[in-house]
Amino acid sequence: MMSEADKKAHRWVKFRRFTLPYVYLLPAFIVMAFITFYPLIYQVIISFTDFQLKDLMFGLESPNLNQVGFKNYIDIFTNALPVQNFEFLRILTYNFWWAISNVALHVPAGVVIAVLLNTPGLWGKRIYRAVYILPVVIPPIVVATVWRNIFHEQYGAMNQFLTAIMELLGSTDPVRLRWLESFAPPIKWLLPNSPLPLAYYAMMIANFWLGWPFMTLVATGALQSIPKDLYEAASIDGASNTQQFWNITVPLLKTAMIPASVYGFTLSFNLFAFVFFFTGGGPARSTEILVTFAYDLVRNLNLFGVAAAFAVIVFFVALFVFLVTNRITRATESYTEA
């Protein structure tokens, strides 16, 4: 039987065990309180007001600040903002399509390139791996500016390249595709409520250059962790290279590629700098994504309250995306189980 002193000591140990993790977490919480939670809460508060330039100097203390309830949210959902050519559902649809189509292209390409570069006996593997990481480390504004110039109607390398090809095929007319300006969708039936102009395809090309190296990097790491014995055993059993790829490589890559795909999706979904500097959301807001529109509301239109409401909506959209992808990948399972 435990004495009173032992019981006290036991309770103290128990209390310490219970509180210690929170003590360790406290510094992070304090920092986050200032740089994350405070701006978030402030944003939610101003999303229920008509906060504009007039209130910037005094913030929530501004004598001109009016509470408007859910008006900002209703105006966004009903397209009633005093902003031309704004349709919330169209932008949301395009945003999802943009993220999905990018991931659908980057992941298979990344895996295929990683498998090719993983070929035994291939020379210069280290150089390839160093070179293909370059797009990942170049700032998005530089990438967007360079690619914007590449797609320039008159002086861009893309039209010059296409002109050279057309010359080989016997054409003498220069190619003058208006990549970033033309509104007419080349494939009319694709995404009917948000027609995809040439600018979308230009962005896809540029973002492919930006996106596949990361997927290749992840796939390369995962490929190297697959035991070679499996391939040897399969080979002895008479499996062809294709069968080995589909039955060994692909299933064992899934554990690494699914989280990478989710990361790629999230990144593309909120790819602000690239979209903003590449097309600015044009032509006619057809390549606008949620975050670039929110920025436009603040920067050009000074509708801070509406922009805050828009950002809150973007948060819930992102939360939905997170919950769905988290269910697919079980990314946080180990933490919740502990």
Binding site: L53, L56, Q84, A184, P283, R285, N300
Partner: protein, 417 residues
Amino acid sequence: MKKPLFVVFSLLLISAFVLSACGGAAAPVAEEPIAEEHAEEPMEEAPAEEAPAEEAMEVIEVTFWHAYGTGSAEETAMTALLAQAAEDMPQYKVSALQIPFDDIYNKYRTDVASGAGPDMFIAPNDSLGDDARAGLIADITALADGKLGDYAPLSVEGMSVDGVLYGIPESLKAVAFWYNTEMMPEPPATTADLQAMMEGGTPVSLSYGCYHHWGFFGSFGGQIFDDSWTVVAGDGVADAVGYLNDLYQVSVENGWPKNDGDGLAPFTEGTVAAITNGNWAMGDYSAALGDKLAVAPLPAGPGGAANPLLGVDGYYFNPNSANLEAAIEVALYLTGADAQAMMMNDAGHVPALTTVEVTDPLMLGLLEGFGNAYVRPQVPELGLYWSNFCGTDQVFEAGTPAADWVAEATTNANKAE
């Protein structure tokens, strides 16, 4: 034994975070006098005979932002002007910082709202009304009283909101039609002439954008606002947008530049005959084309003369500034007769000061165009134009009929009421 130590260390670290976060203002207060002592002590302790007279003078630093593009004629002229100011006003140290034009207003606003920002900045009066009403620009009515007698009343009016003065005017600016006399001996007098020229193959770099479009509304008898600032864009504006759409399609077909940025090189290199742009670009055009450069008003149309937006560039002052009077004195120097003559000759600025003699034919041509200009109103409703009439891609590229687009823009703009 180690665990308790670690816990103590963690608690100390947390305390340090809390104290740093809560007591941010305390440290500088303790440090500032030390820094000042270090700065001032050597001057005080040095023997009087060793200290030059200039060192004894208190030098006030005036921080100043501008948005003149790197390497542009405006930036070159401003740099020279500031060098001259340093010689003429040794009591002031003007620290200039170039901010990209697209960012200058937002950066200024956020800096001022957080208690910082430059002492002054120069920019067009694009958003003076909004900024002044928001308290982001200092009221200088009393401080500048009696000092602006020689400035054009129009320019002083452009620096004022509801009778309160918020800036020192520097120059006037509006969009005009610049042409190369070697390629285009006579400018188009009417909108029909311009269309005929472009359709006939004369390369013109027309700038398509809602700021540049405004002048054409007058040519077609259109107006955006009525007297009570309600958006009433109707047939005249729709006709103007339809006309601009026709010209846009000609530009697209011929691969001609469609904005002033893209048009700069072709115009200065002599591959396009004309360009529409504001007089801020005159220095660059003049340096490249010399005597071949000429300017005319935007063409008149069936509705009358073109009426481009007339803006006033001026120096504005930060309400947080501790050197407001010094900044105003510097601004008055930078807008003085010699300074404005320099900016006029080297950068194409149309002086706000009436005592500056204008003899340059280009300047006289600009002033002719300014006669019909629409003075940029400083009312909050002007924002409705920028948020609803700038998406002309919808007409030019997506094929929406101009009349429908204008009607939709008008409806959207009036939703705000």
